[in-house]
């Protein structure tokens, strides 16, 4: 594994750490700032700091260092959580997030001066951060010292406030119990570290790790081991040096090991210089493995078990010590490259297609009902669902960003918003999770900027001072439904209509239902904002939101009550890789109509269908006059057009219901979606393709796109 890959791993873990922080701060906001929550926050920041040091991200490391200092005071009880302190910690969290993004090269280094000053103000002098303190000064502030190992152990046994007891007390207690122990001898960690021979590969720099240890309080650093070859044999690509050093006992072993989390093949020996010793700090030699276990001490504690199969042999153990391998902890999760996962999903898709072809072939030979075929079909579907579930991610990864957006909006608008997040654990395909963020952010910004009123206006309207915003996700009928609802002023239909008329979006005398007026806000270029703000109101947002949602195979709807608020509902497929569809024939061509769009199918009765022009017709469906889209005519395919030989499929679109006219319905089944864009090029009205059981390629209709195409055609004809 090269350094870049290991650094990516650090960034992934930082991202997870930031998500954990957001969840913990949400608990703090609700008053649940118990010892375990504060410890989790501290460890997440500490872990980010350690990795940042290892990879030379100095700004990030420096900021995390100061942040950690205040958090440590909080967890040791020197500081007490107040709403003012929470505000500072949240502001620092936002800056930490920005620093991580800057380290990834996604943005410039944030200006953290104000937040650092605020941290200094609440935590006293900035220099009080514990991990960088030399042993002597740390000893002077013993109650504030980190206590990761012991905390983790107690946390595993019984999460309780006692988990914050510092290790010094534990060591002192053991010293009292053992008369052989010298009461004044402060035990240290004796560390021997030797980078692997290829430690410089891919830009690796062992001295950065040594520097991090120094910042944590390392002393007595000395060269150790066999040393250098004669200069004639010196290879500048190879690492020859090793070091011995001491670390203060206040630093936990897990924290020391965390420094080496992202290096591979180094020899690391951590020995506790004091007797007797707690079992978890027994002398040991570890060979740092790639793909290390999670830095959490609770996870790394069982590492003293045995080396994983196939791992390199551990270095010779110290006398009396056990050779163990860091990373040997039995972990419930593994990291897999997305490419490998996508390959698996793709292969399973091919298997589904092959299975369907085999079934068709066997059916042609009268063997369609065999139990083996049924078993194969069941197994294939189960395998496909399992493969797809690996790609599923909780909406939490998106929802975790919402509190920050709200904080920023509150600061920008002066409004106050109470946020309610529901259904965070609702799982949906990774691609959907990745692509829903932008439209969701816009809806939230829109709700706060346009929907929720300022405190005075709300009070005058008899509402609470704080606006309410609910963002929820749930699975419904095989789709994920995301709701963004506020209790603001709602949609002012008279104003929306007037603005739409002014902009020429609708005719002044157009008869529009409430739903149709509400939907005007999705029209291109529509905006009711009195002035353009930097939050929303550029008049492109809602149109883009709708297009982004449609690109994901989804739909967006809005319901509103003037004066009481508005609710936007996004309905999206759970996955983009498979699709439940109706197989239809138009002429000689086969198409798939997504089941999510279909309301019903019917044969038109005499008098139900009214032709307005050659390819324009209206179908009367129980009193509703729905436009008929003749797929054959639209796509230039010779097809049936008389009602006796056609089937009408009523579909739901963002612009209301419409009817698709096809020759016949062949089947209804799940199909594997193949990207047309990746394999050919994008075609308006077609969202992808699939391979049917008989080997034919069928195009998957994009119902919204077909409707747009039909309207454009009618507009041109007019």
């Amino acid at each position: 594994m090269d350094l870049d890959a290991i650094q990516q791993m650090f960034f992934q873990e930082s991202e997870e750490g930031l998500q954990a922080l957001e969840s913990c701060f949400a608990l703090c906001r609700e008053g649940a700032d118990d010892a375990e929550t504060i410890n989790t926050i501290f460890r997440a920041v500490h872990s980010i700091k350690g990795g940042a040091g290892a990879f030379g991200h100095e700004h990030l490391q420096d900021f995390a260092h100061h942040y950690e200092g205040v958090l440590d005071q909080l967890r040791s009880g020197t500081l007490t959580m107040t709403s003012a302190l929470l505000d500072v910690l949240l502001a620092a969290f936002d800056i930490l997030t920005d620093h991580v993004a800057a380290a990834r090269g996604e943005r410039s280094t944030p200006d953290d001066t104000a937040v650092l000053a605020a941290l200094a103000s609440v935590g006293g002098a900035l220099e009080t951060a514990p991990a960088a303190e030399p042993a002597a000064s740390v000893a002077a502030t013993v109650p504030a010292a980190p206590a990761d190992d012991f905390d983790a152990l107690l946390g595993l046994l019984e999460p309780s406030p006692a988990a914050s007891t510092p290790p010094d007390d534990f060591d002192a207690l053991l010293s009292l119990l053992d008369p052989a122990a010298k009461p004044d001898a402060a035990p240290h960690w004796q560390i021997k570290v030797r980078p692997s021979g290829d430690a410089f590969a891919n830009g690796g720099e062992p001295l950065l790790l040594l520097r991090e240890l120094t910042r944590m309080g390392a002393t007595n650093i000395a060269l150790d081991g066999p040393g250098l070859p004669p200069i004639e044999e010196l290879d500048v690509q190879r690492s020859y040096l090793g070091w011995s050093l001491e670390m203060p006992a206040e630093i936990s072993k897990a924290d020391i090991e965390a420094v080496f989390e992202f290096v591979d093949g180094w020899q690391l020996e951590i020995r506790h210089d004091g007797a007797p010793e707690p079992a978890e700090t027994a002398p040991e030699t570890v060979e740092v493995q790639a793909a290390p276990s999670h830095p959490s001490p609770a996870v790394s504690a069982p590492a003293s078990a045995s080396a994983p199969a196939g791992s390199k042999p551990a270095a010779a153990p110290a006398p009396g010590g056990d050779g163990v391998a860091l990373g040997a902890a039995a972990s419930a999760t593994i990291r897999v490259e997305l490419d490998k996962l996508d390959r698996l999903v793709n292969l399973v898709g091919e298997l589904v297609i092959t299975q369907a072809m085999l079934a068709q072939r066997l059916t042609e030979h009268g063997l369609g009902g065999s139990s083996e075929l049924t078993s194969l079909e069941n197994l294939t579907r189960e395998l496909q669902e399992s493969a797809m579930s690996i790609r599923a991610q909780p909406m939490k990864t998106v929802f975790n960003r919402v509190p920050r957006i709200i904080r920023e909006l509150e600061a920008d608008t002066g409004k106050r918003v109470r946020l309610q997040l529901d259904g965070e654990m609702t799982e949906v395909d990774k691609t959907v999770v990745e692509r829903i963020g932008e439209p969701l952010t816009h809806l939230i910004r829109n709700a706060v900027d346009h929907g929720i009123e300022g405190p005075e206006e709300r009070l005058a309207a008899g509402k609470s001072e704080d606006g309410m915003l609910r963002v929820g996700a749930e699975q419904r009928s095989g789709r994920i439904v995301i709701t963004v609802a506020d209790d603001g002023r709602g949609i002012d239909r008279a104003r929306v209509r007037a603005k739409a008329v002014e902009r020429g979006i609708v005719a002044p005398d157009a008869m529009l239902s409430d739903e149709e007026i509400d939907n005007l806000i999705f029209a291109p270029g529509f905006s009711t904002a009195e002035k353009v703000s930097n939050i929303s109101g550029r008049g492109v947002g809602m149109d883009v939101v709708r297009r982004n949602v449609q690109a994901l195979g989804g739909r967006i709807g809005v319901s509103s009550r003037f004066g009481s608020g508005a609710s936007f509902t996004l309905s999206l497929p759970l996955t983009l890789a498979v699709l439940d569809g109706m197989i239809v024939k138009v002429g000689e061509q086969t198409f798939v109509v997504p089941l999510g769009n279909i309301v019903e199918s019917l044969r038109a009765q005499p008098g139900q269908l009214s032709h307005l022009a050659d390819d324009a017709a209206i179908l009367d469906v129980r009193g509703m006059q729905l436009p008929v889209l003749q797929i054959g005519a639209l796509l230039g395919i010779p097809a049936q057009s008389d009602p006796d030989n056609t089937v009408m499929i009523v579909v739901e679109t963002d612009a209301g219901q419409a009817v698709i006219m096809v020759d016949s319905i062949e089947d209804q089944r799940q199909v594997v979606v193949k990207s047309l864009e990746a394999n050919y090029r994008a075609i308006p009205g077609v969202s992808g393709a699939t391979i049917l059981g008989d080997g034919r390629v069928a195009l998957i209709l994009d119902v919204e796109g077909v409707l747009t195409r039909a309207r454009r055609r009618q507009a041109i004809a007019a």
Binding site: L207, L223, I231
Partner: protein, 92 residues
């Protein structure tokens, strides 16, 4: 006494091979090795190894090895790496 050789600002991995070549050349000529460390802003392990190797070789050949005017960065990193002796003049 030869003029001191100015050490580059970045004694990183890329600088290690040129530094090794230079020092080997000086050792082959049996010339005292006098380096000026005032411009050094960065010291990595690869260059540290080269300097340590050259110092050891100079000692065994009874050639002087000196780093004059070490910058703060050079001193800090050398001391941090337990190689403070590198900055102490090694006379033949």
């Amino acid at each position: 006494m030869p003029n001191p050789e100015q050490l580059p600002a970045a004694l990183n991995a890329a600088a290690a091979q040129p530094l090794l070549d230079l020092l080997k050349e000086r050792l082959a000529d049996n010339e005292p090795i006098i380096l000026d460390g005032s411009a050094v802003l960065q010291l990595g392990q690869a260059c540290l190894q080269v300097l340590l190797g050259a110092r050891a070789a100079a000692g065994s050949r009874e050639i002087a090895f000196t780093i004059n005017n070490p910058s703060e960065a050079l001193s800090t990193m050398a001391n941090m790496a337990g190689c403070g002796e590198l900055l102490v003049a090694g006379e033949a």
